[in-house]
């Protein structure tokens, strides 16, 4: 089958073995099992392994295998289930190199969908960017489009350190143009480097994952009012590319972070604190601001779910308020 969408390039070459969770056999587009479709047939049972639904066990097994010379890719059906295994990710994988002073290293990738989906309720909608981004020893990536996913997953697999790769279920079905260069089997993107998706001189808008797309939509609308947004796609959560953010803020004098996750102790909190401590602070014309998910467990009812996370209109309103001081556009004022 044609494989447009986020992982079109991935299927061509996979460096390690994939340990994946099979929850069911049906092929609803919402099921993350789609990502590894075709891999079993292409690479065989030795390299693509269905595990029982025992996250702590299989994350530990994958980590042990990495310690002993393999380069595993460990899939969590969603990162919500990684909480059952988080001890292995943090205490076994992330800290091994340090505790052993270099004797043991863990070239593993933990990947799977992260953050809000659609109608899946409170236990299946949490964003783990801040939790994993908090830990030294991990590299944490949160890609947005196909180019990000291709280049960064490949870089993650080739990296000798444990990498947490936070995908987004609602992005799996979204097609993107893949330039020629990005379709090469050795196309890599650097971990820890953000990408400016859109330049602008009035406000720096920083986001990761699916929200980047929302910010670009908001930017297009704001441009009609004469507000030019510079949209930065973080691509990586750890290390965080503050240099790119600071350089932008020193140009635009305004900073707004946008994320789907909860506000308290989140990615945006880190970015704002960092800017306060760095050279860009003196360039701010207004306090840096965070736009986030609401500080509640995710509700199921569609209307409430929509209210629980930042929508394009929220980004527009917030950016407009920061730049003009008003939430309504001048046109409607």
């Amino acid at each position: 089958m044609a494989a447009p969408g986020v992982f079109g390039g991935l299927l061509r070459r996979l460096g390690g073995f994939g340990v994946r969770v099979r929850r069911s056999l049906h092929t609803s587009p919402a099921m993350s099992v789609q990502i590894t479709r075709g891999l079993l047939k292409k690479y065989g049972e030795k390299r693509v392994i269905d595990t029982p639904i025992t996250e702590m066990g299989f994350a530990g097994i994958a980590t042990g295998a990495a310690m002993a010379g393999l380069r595993p890719i460990c899939e969590f059906m969603t990162f919500n289930f990684s909480m059952q295994a988080i001890d292995q990710v943090v205490n076994s994988a992330a800290k091994a190199l340090y505790m052993s002073a270099g004797t043991i290293h863990v070239p593993i990738v933990f990947r799977g969908p992260n953050g809000a989906s659609a109608g899946v309720g409170a236990q299946h909608s949490q964003c783990f960017a801040a939790w994993y981004g908090h830990c030294p020893g991990l590299k944490v990536i949160s890609p947005w489009n196909s180019i990000d996913c291709k280049g960064l997953l490949k870089a993650a697999i080739r990296d000798d350190d444990p990498v947490v790769f936070l995908e987004n279920e609602l992005m799996y079905g979204v097609p993107f143009d893949m330039p020629e260069e990005a379709q090469s089997p050795d196309f890599l993107l650097p971990i820890g480097k953000a990408h400016v998706e859109r330049t602008g001189q009035h406000i720096t808008v920083v986001a990761h994952s699916r929200i980047v797309g929302f910010c670009l939509e908001a930017a297009a609308a704001l441009a009609k009012e004469g507000i030019e947004c510079e949209v930065i796609n973080l691509r990586s959560i750890r290390p965080l590319d503050m240099a790119t953010v600071e350089q932008s803020v020193m140009k635009t004098n305004h900073l707004m972070t946008v994320e789907g996750g909860w506000p308290i102790f989140g990615v945006g909190a880190e970015i704002c604190a960092s800017v306060m401590e760095g050279p860009a602070f003196d360039y701010l014309d207004a306090p840096a601001m965070r736009v986030t998910g609401v500080d509640v467990p995710m509700p199921y009812a569609r209307n409430l779910e929509e209210l629980a996370g930042p929508q394009v209109k929220d980004i527009i309103t917030a950016a407009r308020r920061m730049v003009t001081g008003k939430e309504e556009s001048r046109a409607t004022a």
Binding site: T51, M56, A65, M67, A68
Partner: protein, 411 residues
Amino acid sequence: MFVATHNGPQFVCGQAPPVDGPMGQRGTYAIQCALQALWLRRNLGARSLADFASEATFDVKPCLLHGLESAPPISVSLSREDGLLYYKQMQTIRRMELKADQLYKQKVIRGFCHLYDGQEACGVGIENAIKPTDHLITAYRVHGIAYLRGVALKSILSELTGRQGGCAKGKGGSMHMYFKNFYGGNGIVGAQVPLGAGVAFALKYQGLDSLCVAMYGDGAANQGQIFEAFNMASLWSLPCLFVCENNQFGMGTAVERASANVDYYQRGDYIPGIKVDGMDVLCVREATKFAADFIRSGKGPMLMELETYRYHGHSMSDPGVSYRTREEIKEVRTKSDPISLLRDRLVGSGLSSVEELKEIDVKVRGEIEEASQFATSDPEPPLSDLTSHIYKTSLNSCIRGITPWQQLATA
């Protein structure tokens, strides 16, 4: 009349005795001469190998079996060479752990310190049954195992004292010691078991004729992740030997109060299991060989329960007598001490002698003392090690320090 050579006493027979002993000068002098004669007879080749047997056979306790048709042998042969080796290894671990106890009380070792004295036969029996190309992982009661896997005594002790000469450069501490084919040293109870199954997975994937020994204690034996590891190890026929060192207490909780089923060797259910006398190094060795052969023949994992005992409390912060009696500890020491057991066998069978074993004791004490001197005099790690080994491939050259303006170089 003869002169003491090399390490013998420092006086010469026939001279006036240099010291005024409790038995009067003449009595002391006579004793000292007799000792010297003995020493010289030993060290000048008066003793020949013909004085000792080269091999002997011993009976060991039969193992309890679960899901197995055959069993390890109960009649075990031991060579003199092996006997002396096992004795030295066990005595080294014993003395090293007692030295660690001493250093901890002097506050030179801090934090966690979980001692292995009493359990020596487990580690020594396993190591002498597997190959150096086999892999091993255990929990935090690891100092003895690290030594057996090849970590030098001074590297172990200076890791405990947090010095740069430590096997993890002082950055790991008591619970985090690693070596080739040895994965620590793990602080989270039970976490090492799936890791060990993962190592076994890698060995099988790479087509190696090696197995992984994944050790845990009775305290960890109820952890869910252990059963998750059992399941996958069995499903995928991983070359993993799960070893439960049952020292009767999970921290301060006796096995009967922690486990609805204390037959740990049966807890693998579909995984064949074997219960072994963990105080008898020969029993452990034979059972491990049996298990290793089973696993190497491709039959999948096995579970081995070693019934053992620890003299110290769970750690140095546990006196170890609030949940068991001093009488119980004393009884085990008197009746089942693994080193005494081996000593009696070696001497009783003519494989060695009391004197020869005492020589080994002295040598071991000397080695431990030397390692301890090093461990207490070696400098602490340099400040640059605070920020080294975060990543194998660092993406930034600096790490944020305590304050925003403190940027620490990272390697």
